[in-house]
């Protein structure tokens, strides 16, 4: 079977689960596409995913209310072994990237990380992934009876649900003790639309001059466009913006329809987080700034003059 581990949050399937379903259907390995739901009070999630796959395995336990990499990897490896899985698909979320290596080690399987395409022919899995801060596309192969694959978010199209619900089965798991205690959480909350899901992102860098400059220029333009806001590490480090807004190698990866970079130089670590955006717009006073090399549109000028004029033009 092809096993996919369902990603869900707040009682709903995550977009990545629909993407996994597409990948599982097109992978070219044999057997039913099987969804594994891990969590607590997951009935709605299980019903939703039943419309995407051939069968659903459900482990609905209080101990699974809080994610843990050791518990998740043990559960997934157990089900993969018992069901003789030939592929295990895991989302490219933070938790997926964190526990998938443990699953690969438990199954003595190759790990294909963060793939943007994957296909299996005659038992050999061929995948494409980005390397070197997303500057290179590498092709890798794995020749093994079972492979573990994590999918880059938004790289696969979302599958559409069918009308026939697949059968659901409860599974019994032998789970390890939790060894990492979570003693507190601080959630990223924003009144704005989330960076990962936004079609339009307006981002600011050191060129906005100050925290106040970010508010009037970047948030000002984002407000009139209905966009999410992003920031460079330079201004996250100065404390002007929270880390949750950072785009780049050590922050978030985004791929919106349009990314507007305001006062951003375009360092490789920043480009690795937004370089695949469909349309890139740059406003920078330095005509030689590297960001212009990847820009579709841009203005060489002072953000303090250009951006207020853009806000006025959008309003018109």
């Amino acid at each position: 079977m092809i096993l996919m581990v369902v990603e869900h949050a707040n009682g709903k399937l995550s977009k990545s689960t629909y993407e996994m379903a597409t990948c599982a259907r097109e992978l070219g390995r044999e057997g039913p596409v099987t969804a594994l739901v891990l969590g607590y009070a997951t009935a709605t999630v299980a019903n939703e995913v039943a419309l995407l796959v051939d069968q659903v395995l459900v482990a609905d336990h209080a101990e699974l209310a809080q994610y843990d990499p050791e518990i998740w990897s043990a559960a997934v490896a157990q089900i993969a072994s018992e069901g003789d899985a030939n592929a295990v698909l895991i989302g490219g979320s933070r938790s997926g990237r964190e526990y998938s290596p443990r699953v690969a080690v438990k199954l003595d399987a190759p790990l294909l990380e963060d793939v943007v395409s994957v296909v299996s022919t005659e038992g050999v899995v061929l995948a494409e992934r980005y390397t070197y801060l997303a500057r290179v596309t590498e092709k890798v192969t794995a020749d093994a009876p079972v492979v573990v694959i994590t999918l880059k978010q938004a790289a696969f199209a979302a599958a559409t649900s069918g009308t026939q619900a697949a059968e659901q089965f409860d599974v019994e798991l032998t789970l390890p003790q939790r060894r990492v205690q979570i003693t507190g959480k601080s959630l990223e909350k924003s009144s704005r639309i989330s960076l990962a899901e936004a079609e339009i992102v307006v981002a600011g860098g050191r060129g906005v001059g100050s925290a106040e400059g970010f508010r009037t220029l970047v948030e000002g333009l984002a407000d009139v466009l209905g966009a999410a806001v992003g920031a460079t590490r330079a201004i996250v480090d100065t404390g002007w913006r929270p880390y949750s807004e950072q785009v780049g190698q050590t922050g978030k990866t985004v791929q919106p329809k349009i990314y507007i970079a305001i006062g951003i130089s375009g360092a490789v670590q920043h480009l690795s987080g937004m370089g695949k955006s469909k349309c890139i717009v740059a406003i920078n006073k330095d005509a030689d700034a590297p960001i212009f090399k990847v820009a579709d549109y841009g203005i060489v000028g002072d953000v303090n003059q250009i951006v207020p004029a853009m806000i006025a033009a959008v309003r018109k």
């Binding site: 949050a9 994610y67 990499p69 050791e70 990897s73 933070r94 938790s95 964190e98 290596p101 443990r102 690969a104 080690v105 190759p110 790990l111 990380e113 963060d114 061929l126 980005y130 390397t131 070197y132 801060l133 997303a134 500057r135 290179v136 596309t137 092709k139 890798v140 794995a142 060894r179 990492v180 205690q181 979570i182 003693t183 507190g184 959480k185 601080s186 990223e188 880390y243 050590t250 329809k257 349009i258 490789v268 670590q269 469909k278 349309c279 717009v281 740059a282 212009f292 820009a295 579709d296 549109y297 203005i299 060489v300 000028g301 003059q305 250009i306 004029a309 853009m310 033009a313 959008v314």
Partner: protein, 252 residues
């Protein structure tokens, strides 16, 4: 306490990536210690400097040139280094087999590993090593304290950050914010030349790559490069907004 810092040598971020015959070619490029690994070395040194009786051991697995990276972290202050030499390109799952065996042989209590590799964009080495050792892991750690056998700190989680607590032995992977790595000083660079750098052959570890890289290319997305002069700010802004609306059709 014995702390192992995993060290990888990667392309300097300022360097251009070159591809030759379907492979990334690093032969003429400047290579540096992966910044994410430097965070780990720095944190290990800070633990030692805080008065904990600790020894900091750096481990690199790979080609001959990795020795430079080990010399750099010895100059930062690591006590000794181990270089497992191989010309094989190993994926993180294969590498973790070596790292875990070295950790056992060296009776390690705490491993630091970069949260993300700057070359292979992989997050797997730390978690895979933890699994092989049957240790817990804390990933993308941006703040860390140690009290006796207990590590506490903050790490990136799905939708924000979490405070955690875990007992040694454990694997910690690093994230931005953990610390500011120090630069080697000249006296320390001199001192580092006398420190132990043990070279071990790969053969004793029985490791085979799990993946094969069969091609690499640089896909440059064709960009329009319509860059306007902003001397007349309102005219340029109006023209740009018009292009985004009616040519690119990306805003309403």
């Amino acid at each position: 306490m014995r702390i192992l810092a995993l060290i990888r040598q990667v392309l300097d971020a300022e360097e251009t990536v070159r591809i030759r015959a379907g492979e990334v070619d690093l032969s003429a490029s400047k290579l540096v210690v992966d910044t994410m690994d430097e965070y780990g070395v720095e944190q290990a040194l800070r633990i030692r400097e805080s008065g904990v009786d600790a020894e900091v051991i750096a481990l690199a697995i790979g080609a001959e040139r990795n020795r430079e990276a080990l010399r750099t972290v010895l100059a930062m202050g690591a006590d000794c280094a181990i270089h497992v030499t191989t010309e094989l390109a190993l994926d993180p799952i294969a590498l973790s087999k070596v790292a875990a065996q070295v950790a056992q042989q060296e009776k390690i209590d705490l491993i630091f590993c970069g949260g993300q590799q700057a070359d292979w964009d992989s997050h797997a080495l730390g978690a895979a090593t933890a699994e092989r050792l049957q240790w817990p892991q804390a990933t993308w750690v941006s703040a860390l304290e140690i009290h006796g056998q207990t590590l506490t700190g903050r790490h990136d989680a799905e939708d924000g950050s979490e405070m955690f607590s875990v007992q040694l032995p454990a694997v910690v992977t690093t994230q931005q914010g953990l610390n500011e790595p120090r630069y080697p000083t000249v006296p320390n660079i001199m001192r580092a030349k006398k420190k132990e750098l043990r070279v071990v052959s790969m053969e004793s570890f029985q490791v085979e790559p799990k993946l094969k890289v069969i091609g690499a290319e640089i896909q440059v997305r064709a960009r329009l490069h319509k860059i306007l002069d902003g001397k007349d700010a309102s005219a340029a802004a109006a023209e740009l907004v018009e292009l985004l609306r009616n040519e690119a059709r990306v805003i309403a």
